[in-house]
Amino acid sequence: MKKRSQAIASQQRRQIITGSIAAVGLASIGMPGISLAQNNPIKIGMPTILSGRVAMLGEASRNAAIMGVEKFNAAGGLNGRPVELVIRDSKGKPDEAARITRELVNSDGCEMILDAEASSGAFAVHEVARDLGFLVIHTCSETSALTADPKMRIPNGFRAARQGVHDAIVGGDYSGKVAKEKGLKRWMSISPDYSYGKDTTAEFFEYLKYFNKDIEVVNSVWPKLFQADYSESITRLLQGKPQAIYSCLWGGDLTSFIDQASIYGLMKDRQFFGVNMADYAVLTAIKAVPPNIHSGNRYLKSIPKTQQNAAWCDAYLAKFKTMPLNWSWENAVGIDLMLNAIKQTNGTDTKKMSEALKGMTIDSPFGTNGKITMRASDHTIIDYAIAWGDLQPKEPYMPNPYMGNWKTVLELEKLWMKKKGYIS
């Protein structure tokens, strides 16, 4: 850490010297002393995934970050200094993510990192941040442990993304109500067999049972991530004869599953709770959204139903010719927080920015009440809009959203943290 700040200090010294010489030189020919060092951009490094199966994560993230940066620069940047994003592809490999992060910070002059890596990559980048001490905001990892676990906590690491447990609480609340209304007692689940799939499914059922004691989870199926064929999982589900099915399959997997399930008639006379359905990539790929589907909101233009959110969505669509995804709003919030910290501290000092971020509240189109807060205790965002509801095949895809009540969410989250041993 000493070396890096030394390197930056020496670079800054050189800039000041060059700038001063230039200024003196210009002054000697009668021009006002413009310090040339001022136009030197603030570089923010952005490791993400731009290739392979999860390439859309990187594209969606980068688009939103670019929008945020352009807006900031158009408004004058930091006293005339523009912000520059340096984006690199980790190909989804955590060791590559660690390598490019080190390169961005050590060789490419990036003073902070907007980390748009999936969870394993995020953990790798987190360790680099722990070792080298730069500011990092993770924007795509939803693994609660990244911020909830005290062992992971570092003063310069933050997360601007939804957290699995928050989602599960609202989902359990909503689904518990629906289950009571429709008499759904017998449940099964189909989720991908990896940490996100297992944790999210477990959390959902935990809170579902909390809000509705009559639930029985008969069985769970765990296909592999990116598995093409769900036939055996679907027939397993058919055999179990559940009244409701939960799934946290996402993206192409969810699309394949729905397509395959519909030719089996799996969704007939059954309620399906797919937390990742309300995502434009999925909604546009599935030609006909089947009936009886409920979902959480990954990103929808109508949630929250505000002019700011709709405007942001329209601007994104106009610029990139594609609809924003879940990762888009998360990166939009992340870059907003980061840029706000720069503005507030009038500079790029890691310690000052980290202090400013703790407890920072910003205006955001994605906040429940127009605002999002970076919680000081564990460096993760709260008050972002979480909604669940049933889906229809056209805009607004979720006509009757059940908006999450953050008071409830925070209360239950505290109990969850105690149970996990994260707080005493």
């Binding site: 392979g52 390439a55 592999k224 055999q239 993206g251 394949s256 030719i263 089996y264």
Partner: protein, 300 residues
């Protein structure tokens, strides 16, 4: 290991029918892909590591063809032919140069193509996953057989694969072309000495094998979303099938594919957490006990 559930299923007609048909469904597409792989190995002695990418290419070409013509049949044919043509090109200009070389050189060339094709697909069709959607004439309710469920589309798939299996058997065993191909597989230099154009045979077999993989990709397109890099998992599974069935044996590919299909479908009931483990252990067991595979000849 849930032996109770497994026993219950095997003794229940509806479960038995459903799970067996699921095994057939999974196995059919796998058979098409694995057959191409095993034939290429059997006749050319080459392990085509790029086979999964050919499957991917078939799916994407069929997708575009379907969007243009709105006919699934035409799309499938174009997909298979397109990949067959590409395989021909690939064999002529690239694989041909590494026939005699180490298997590692072949791996290198194939891997280079996997990288190039993944990026090419990303450039042409985008990095977001794509979905063909079920063509209208397959959107029928599923068929109920003795209480078990079988979707109409899958009946069609199984029928096509069965037809190809039968056709291939006839081709290889009852026609002159088949005889020539089998001869080239057993002894290429002798075949060439007898005046037959082995390089043409090689090209033909490679193109045919590739076309089969492309066909599988096209057939699966209505129900499986596609994204760059999707060839991967298919590749690994088809290797397992080929090794278990016997490298170079088409009947082995059939047996292996059905076996893997049944392991998957009954495994999801009996041992859902170990399905992959069981497949790798089966592969390891075959390699140790009978490396030439279930249907392979012993002296390979």
């Amino acid at each position: 290991m849930d032996t109770e559930a497994l026993f219950e299923c095997v003794t229940s007609m509806s479960c038995l029918v459903t799970q067996t048909s699921t095994g057939l469904i999974v196995g059919s597409l796998l058979f098409l892909v694995a057959t191409g792989l095993t034939m290429i190995f059997g006749v050319l002695g080459v392990v085509n590591f790029a086979h999964g990418s050919l499957y991917m290419l078939g799916a994407y070409i069929a997708l575009s063809a379907f969007r243009l013509t709105d006919s699934f049949i035409i799309a499938t044919v174009i997909g298979a032919l397109g990949v067959g043509l590409f395989s021909l090109f690939f064999e002529r200009f690239f694989m041909r140069r590494v026939y005699g070389a180490d298997v590692l050189m072949q791996l290198l060339v194939c891997y280079a193509f996997i990288l190039i094709l993944d990026d090419a697909v990303k450039i042409i069709w985008g990095s977001e996953f794509q979905s063909m959607g079920m063509p209208a004439y397959f959107q029928e309710p599923p068929v109920f057989l003795a209480g078990g469920v079988i979707p109409v589309f899958y009946i069609y798939l199984i029928a096509i694969s069965a037809a190809i299996a039968v056709g291939l058997w006839l081709l290889l065993n009852k026609t002159k072309i088949g005889k020539v191909v089998r001869a080239a597989a057993v002894n290429p230099s002798m075949t060439s000495a007898l005046g037959l154009n082995t390089s043409l045979i090689f090209a033909g077999v490679f193109a045919f094998g590739g076309a089969l993989a492309g066909l599988a990709g096209a057939l699966a397109a209505p129900v499986r979303s596609m994204s760059p890099g999707m060839g991967f998992s298919v590749l690994i599974e088809s290797f397992i099938v080929t090794v278990i069935g016997g490298m170079g044996s088409v009947s082995g590919a059939l047996v292996g594919a059905l076996l893997i299909g049944l392991i998957r479908s009954f495994g999801s009931i009996g041992f859902p957490y170990f399905i992959e483990g069981v497949m790798f252990i089966a592969m390891a067991a075959i390699l140790v006990l009978k490396p030439s595979g279930i249907m392979g000849k012993d002296n390979r």
